[in-house]
Assembly symmetry: C2
């Protein structure tokens, strides 16, 4: 059955946006944010400059969209870790926090990206992440695995702040130790 015209248009638009995001990701990974320009993206994707400008008014819009997609992917990645981890709620929490700490460790902000991280989309993602971790902690409290003397959302904020120490750690082993100490703070005594 042929697709409806609207669906095809929508899919095409989505494909163009994805191609632009992919080209941006590759450019940023190899040459940093400053390398992203409208001409370079047009060249790398084979999309005409005029068309590109219909999708994104300027390079800032491209970078923002790419960054937003990257953050959403990280959130999806954490949701997957939660799903596939076997064991108790504390194990799931440890696995999710471990994955989050590695994301922080591997994506150390630079002068370039520090400004991006003050963006509104980052605030929204941070809010979503806090909710996600709060739910995991509440589950652990409900099963008697984690401390119940402090509200789950306060504990979630504690975790996420503690894990920001991952950014400056020299090794991934250090990140694992940080996660361990952080989760130990949540255990029932």
């Amino acid at each position: 059955m042929p697709k409806l015209w609207n669906e095809t248009i929508e899919e095409h638009r989505k494909a163009v946006r994805e191609a632009v995001m992919d080209a941006t990701a590759t450019l940023v990974a190899h040459h940093g944010l400053a390398a992203v320009t409208m001409s370079r993206i047009a060249e790398d994707t084979g999309i005409g400059r005029a068309t590109l400008y219909k999708y994104f008014p300027d390079v800032q819009a491209i970078i923002l969209a790419w960054h937003e997609r990257q953050i959403l992917r990280h959130l999806e990645q954490l949701a997957e870790v939660r799903e596939r981890t076997v064991g108790g709620a504390a194990d799931r929490l440890g696995a999710v926090l471990g994955a989050y700490a590695l994301i922080l460790h591997d994506h150390e902000p630079t002068v370039d990206t520090a400004a991006l991280h003050r963006g509104e989309h980052v605030g929204r993602a941070q809010h979503q992440l806090t909710g996600f971790v709060t739910d995991l902690i509440a589950e652990g409290v409900g099963r008697g695995e984690l401390r119940d003397d402090i509200a789950a959302d306060e504990l979630a904020r504690y975790c996420l702040h503690a894990l920001t120490a991952a950014t400056g750690l020299p090794t991934r082993d250090g990140v694992q130790r940080l996660v361990q100490v952080t989760v130990d703070g949540l255990r029932r005594r």
Copy 2:
């Protein structure tokens, strides 16, 4: 016995600097950083503008000196808390971290002060603070009160990052709970 000339000069200079810092502190507390100007400081201290410029080339130099003094005072305050806390090493650590978390809570950075906090003097103070907390933790480990499976300096970094959550907490009770969870992460299991 009359003081030596050099000593008197040195004391006078120190007194002028202190007067400028005190006037700055009062201005910042009541009207924010933007209220600090060379004229206003000259007026509030009664120091002539020409003299003031001999001590500080511009208003940025005054603000930096004031901020540096404030941070040093906070470090001194933490050292005092350590000295006067009775009990074991874990109690001393809890008291010091509690005082530090309250400083973070009470001095929430504004748009103004965020730039100041990226200054070199803040980096130095942070380094000193990490050393101070590392020593406290090492003492607790030595006495068998705290976990010894992770190096004291890694644990100190964990603590200081976890406590940055104090900045956004609505109440001082919340700050105390945060300190409790953070210190619980350090205990021997």
